[in-house]
């Protein structure tokens, strides 16, 4: 069994593709999420998932 405690080396230098994506990140959403606890963030995500399931379900029954 692997007893290694080190992570593989990986470059964390700025990546042009990631930097390009970063410009489109909605930081207002992030700032709102950072006001919540981790528990509240997960519960919020689950409520979004439930909503999406309901929308999918209502489409399927039409």
């Amino acid at each position: 069994m692997n007893e290694g405690r080190e992570l593989e080396w990986v470059s964390l230098d700025p990546d042009p593709v990631i930097e390009a994506y970063k410009r489109d990140v909605d930081r207002t959403l992030i700032r709102e999420n950072l006001k919540l606890t981790p528990d509240e963030r997960l519960r919020k995500m689950v409520s979004v998932l439930r909503f999406l399931e309901e929308v999918r379900g209502s489409k399927a029954t039409k």
């Binding site: 405690r5 990546d15 990631i18 994506y21 930081r27 606890t37 981790p38 963030r41 998932l49």
Partner: protein, 160 residues
């Protein structure tokens, strides 16, 4: 839909040693993305393999996407012979990893994790820097957008 609460209750209730990675860890750190499965890295000790098998046994773990009827049992011997399993369970999809891409086994990830309450349960998920590291190590095109968001979260945290 994955029942994250009941999956975590099963694992924590079964005293399984694990660290959450992937989408749920990202959400816990502030990501606005949604995720449909739970990814965990479990400790590869004989005792923990037994606890993991026992914790999931009541929830019909099966290889996700595999045809029904295969002689698959998620028991100690199966876990010992394997490493990473993408499972479907009665509670939803669960990725059970002995090692995450980037070299992250439990012993490597635990010191790089945070202990927090989720659904009233004390669980560990990898810290933000480690999550970014694992996503970069995975090198999947679909992760680039997620990495951008995680790095933006880090910037926003540092601003406040």
């Amino acid at each position: 839909m994955t029942d994250f609460q009941r999956l975590l209750e099963a694992l924590v209730g079964g005293n399984v040693e694990f660290v959450i990675i992937g989408g749920v860890a990202a959400v816990a750190h502030g990501s606005a993305h949604v995720t449909v499965d739970l990814d965990i890295v479990y400790r590869r000790t004989p005792e923990n393999l037994a606890r993991l098998a026992a914790a999931l046994a009541p929830h019909a773990p099966y290889l996700r996407g595999a045809p029904p009827g295969l002689p698959f049992a998620f028991d100690v011997e199966t876990i010992r012979r394997g490493l990473n399993f993408t499972l479907s369970t009665a509670l939803g999809d669960l990725d059970v990893l002995g090692e995450a891409t980037g070299g992250g086994n439990y012993d490597a990830l635990r010191p790089r994790s945070e202990s927090r309450q989720l659904y009233g349960l004390e669980v560990r998920f990898v810290d933000l820097d480690t999550l970014i590291h694992l996503k970069r190590a995975a090198g999947r095109p679909k992760d680039l957008e997620r990495i951008a968001e995680l790095e933006a979260i880090k910037q926003e945290r540092n601003r406040s």
